[in-house]
Amino acid sequence: MSVGDEPLLRVRGLGKHFPVRSGPRGRGLVRAVDGLDFDVRAGETLGLVGESGCGKTTTGRMLVRLLEPTAGSIEFAGRDITHAGRRELRPLRQDLQIIFQDPYASLNPRHTVGRIIAMPLLVNGIDPPGGVKARVRELLELVGLNPEHYNRYPHEFSGGQRQRIGIARALALRPKLIVADEPVSALDVSIQAQVVNLLRDLQRDLGLAFVFIAHDLAVVRHFCQRVAVMYLGRIVEIGDRDDIYERPQHPYTRALLSAVPDVTTLGPAGRIRLAGDVPTPLNPPSGCRFRTRCWKARDICAAEEPPLVPRDGGNQATACHFPESGPAGAGSGPAGAAPAAAGTGASVEEVSR
């Protein structure tokens, strides 16, 4: 990798274990995030996807230093910020921003919109050319809000408009990287599309890098160039968008994609039925964490954790002892491979109605 190729964000072995009480006596550790490796280049959009509780939010909050990692390192623009304090972080704060899921809870109801958006400028003592007020108006315009609404309060705006306010606030300092945690999940579909388009335009026009956290795989497909799939605190597969969606190699990625009810197909066709639930991160399965639901699991899957390694020397890395090959949907799923271990598994059902 040449020097100019240095990633903007470099994450190695990142982990967060929460101590919790478990059982009548004794304490346990929730392994919310357990050893993540990934890079994000300047101007690149990385999607973090996975089911509830797999550690997406915890990861996002560690990246912007709202949570203290318990393991690993985070480098931003060449500097180690893993345990950076407030003061060390100040010059970087500008470059690194977060957008939250809940457009209601994340805005102070007692502040005007103008004040909310100006806050990052004021806190960081930045006086933009033309003044704070002019910059705020410019930001309101940029996110498609009426600059005349400067003096209104959050409750006077709809959910989609509030999310735009959150975006304007995140853009105030001209960041290089935005962590967006489910930024459109709380929005109705017509409004969601407005905000996704806005984020896409901003990303392109301003050359922003994103870590885009979402459980909606279709939204991620429309926004991200690279995608990391998480399961129980680990990345199980990472790669370019088209590789992940068209040629997923990890059984979990395949199952996840096949479970999405897609409006382009009528009726429940060719779904991979995963048995059971995600196990608790308090006591994750040995070896491959997906093995309790995987139809391909064999003895080695319980004994050895599969490393996240690239196949075919490409960009796509998969943590699986028996990765799939071929396009999504074709020859994939349990139909081709009989469940090898008792108590595991799933079944594929071709249902036609």
Partner: protein, 366 residues
């Protein structure tokens, strides 16, 4: 599902029911209107909605939040507070009229002939009682002469039916000991324990992950095939509707704007609002780099609905018919194919042409 043969004494007292003719829909809702008087004004949450569902069929009701989906379902179930709600129109369940009936009467149907599943399984379960006890109680309410043992057997059986492993052991556990997906299965078991003919599911999978959602949708389809119940599936997710529905009703601002078979509504949609929904939805297929085509503006307030077609402030075609879209509420009329209805002032020719020109190539409409 079969009532246990061994307990004929458990048969509830069924009131005399007007004979239902074969082929009659099990549920028929006509010109339903639901109004709430609030401090801010009158909320017309449902404004003249009609639909029917036959046994063994699934009606999907879609629309964005606040379009009146839940209020419609709560009206069918008789769950609105009569002191604050004005309901008019007709609701007939298995040949019995519900609107205007005494509470007592409706309560008897609820849980026995019609049951519901809500979005949040936790709110449907009491935290202090074991899940088994709650299912057994739901059974005994409508089968008062059944013994506790019999009710327990029935509950264990239901837990097994909805795919809970070791149902005998799980019977004695509390809701918090179950995962979200398992809890929703428990709620489904409870809803189905009395073998209802009508099941209303209001966003039953919205709080669940996709793999668990897939399990629950499969389960509902399996149970429907087995028990031949009529199902209303309420959701904002067009993907879910495309998977489970036979028929689709699209709601906007408390009114039905389009109604037809799932093929008609999702493949040959006729209403500009339906077009807008379809071109807003991101898909797993097609061009990932293409922009989505959102509907401009925001959903309306039901206290102050725009005059004429409630969609007109957001509609690209509102100016096509002079002032009509602004002045006159469009009625739901046949849209061409049998059974397909649309409420829009555009002529059939205009709709066909505009759809082909503007919509057919964008988003999932493609």
């Amino acid at each position: 599902m079969d009532r246990p043969e061994s307990a004929p004494s458990g048969e509830p007292d069924r009131p005399a029911v007007p004979e239902q003719r074969a082929g009659d829909p099990y549920l028929r809702v006509s010109d339903l209107r639901v109004r709430f008087d609030t401090a801010d004004g009158v909320v017309r949450a449902v404004d003249g909605v009609s639909f029917a569902v036959e046994r063994g069929r699934t009606l999907g009701i879609v629309g964005e939040s606040g379009s009146g989906k839940s209020v419609t379902s709560l009206a069918v179930l008789g769950l609105h507070d009569p002191k604050r709600t004005t309901i008019t129109g007709e609701i007939s369940v298995g040949g019995r009229q519900l609107v205007g009936q005494p509470d007592e009467e409706v309560r008897r149907l609820r849980g026995r002939d019609m049951a519901m599943i809500f979005q949040d399984p936790l709110s449907a379960l009491h935290p202090y009682y074991t899940v088994g006890r709650q299912i057994a109680e739901a059974y005994r309410v409508h089968h008062p002469r059944v013994s506790r043992r019999e009710a327990r057997r029935r509950a264990v059986d239901m837990l097994g039916r909805v795919g809970i492993p070791q149902p005998g052991r799980r019977f004695d556990q509390y809701p918090h000991e179950f995962s979200g997906g398992m809890r929703q299965r428990v709620v489904i078991a409870m809803a189905l324990v009395n073998d209802p003919d009508l099941l209303i599911a209001d966003e039953p999978t919205t709080a669940l992950d996709v793999t668990v959602q897939a399990q629950i949708l499969d389960l509902l389809a399996d149970l429907q095939a087995e028990f031949h119940s009529a199902i209303i599936m309420i959701t904002h997710d067009l993907g879910v509707v495309s998977q489970v529905a036979d028929e689709v009703l699209v709601m906007y601002g408390g009114r039905a704007v389009e109604h037809g078979s799932v093929e008609q509504v999702l493949r040959r949609p006729q209403h500009p609002y339906t077009w807008g929904l379809l071109s807003s939805v991101p898909s797993l297929h097609g061009d990932a780099d293409a922009d989505l085509v959102p509907i401009r503006g925001n959903p309306p307030s039901l206290i102050n609905l725009p005059a004429g077609c409630a969609f007109h402030p957001r509609c690209r075609y509102a100016d096509r018919n002079g002032d009509r879209s602004r002045a006159q509420v469009p009625e739901l009329r046949p849209a061409g194919a049998p059974g397909h209805l649309v409420a829009c002032h555009l002529s059939a020719d205009d709709r066909t042409r505009l759809y082909a020109e503007d919509i057919a190539h964008v988003g999932v409409a493609r």
